[in-house]
Symmetry: C2
Subunit: 155 residues, 2 copies
Amino acid sequence: MKRVAARKPSAAAARERLASWIASRGLKATRQRDLIVDTFFTQTGHLSVDELLDKVTARDSSIGAATVYRTMKILTDAGLASARHFEGGQTRYEAALDRHHHDHLICTSCGRIFEFENERIEELQARVAEQHGFRVTHHKLELYGLCKACQERQQ
Amino acid sequence: MKRVAARKPSAAAARERLASWIASRGLKATRQRDLIVDTFFTQTGHLSVDELLDKVTARDSSIGAATVYRTMKILTDAGLASARHFEGGQTRYEAALDRHHHDHLICTSCGRIFEFENERIEELQARVAEQHGFRVTHHKLELYGLCKACQERQQ
DNA sequence: TTTCATTTTGAAATTGATTCTCAATCTCGA
DNA sequence: TCGAGATTGAGAATCAATTTCAAAATGAAA
Ligand SMILES: [Mn+2]
Ligand SMILES: [Mn+2]
Ligand SMILES: [Zn+2]
Ligand SMILES: [Zn+2]
């Protein structure tokens, strides 16, 4: 039996949650899904399907892109991943289990993504919504610009 | 000479600004562009290219979609329109001349879009950026949910 | 175990918004 | 009026994502 690399505790929990999600709706467990989910939770950050596909096909080159798309949709529906639609193209996914809501700073030069939480901003948003009689289901706050490193690099 | 419908004062200003923008970079004035620009500034709100194309082809059915895309790009580059990328596909454009920065509430049921300005939120965003040593170029704050009317309609 | 209805898969086709290409047509300064 | 250069509309191309479909895999019941 092969020894398995240590994994983040949340990864195991996520796999368990996924198993019951799958069982509870008559879906079936598959080798491909397991591998994709395992690969996803082994990574950190905000992954595009393309990037994830690369890691996945490095492990099993027979897995198709459609299956990765489909699996990430399942993870999202199960609340184990969140889909983020930043500017400029592909959807990115991040692990969602045991994570607080947070927003993002995106460097338009190097593409790095930073996270922040700001309770005060959330409150003010809620107040704005209230003033409009609006019931907010979700929101998006994204700050685009140059990260510290890129500012320094550009002198 | 045909009488022209009364138009918002900003529309005339925008056309003037566009004329000098076009002249200043060796572009040429065209009938199609005039008609598209005129149609755009006659409308209010956040228009998709498809919606704009409909209004445009109602006036001249020979105008192609590519020309509408190209014209909206010019208006955007000239700072006379802003492109908004809300959830769900197409870019929407709104008039930008003499408008403050503002953010949006988007009803996911009826699609209506409401605007707000909140100086306090802007300040807090600036502070967040500062804490990360980030130089923000632009940001996006969008609140999605049900507008008042849609809440009431759904009982 | 075997059966077999159901789900899943990978490849390829399709979608939908947008951009590009290209030959024909227009614009505008000389 | 001329002609270099810009613009046009149609259709092709692009790109991420979804759908289709026939073959393969899964798992509950027998
Ligand atoms: Mn994040
Ligand atoms: Mn607006
Ligand atoms: Zn950077
Ligand atoms: Zn509504």
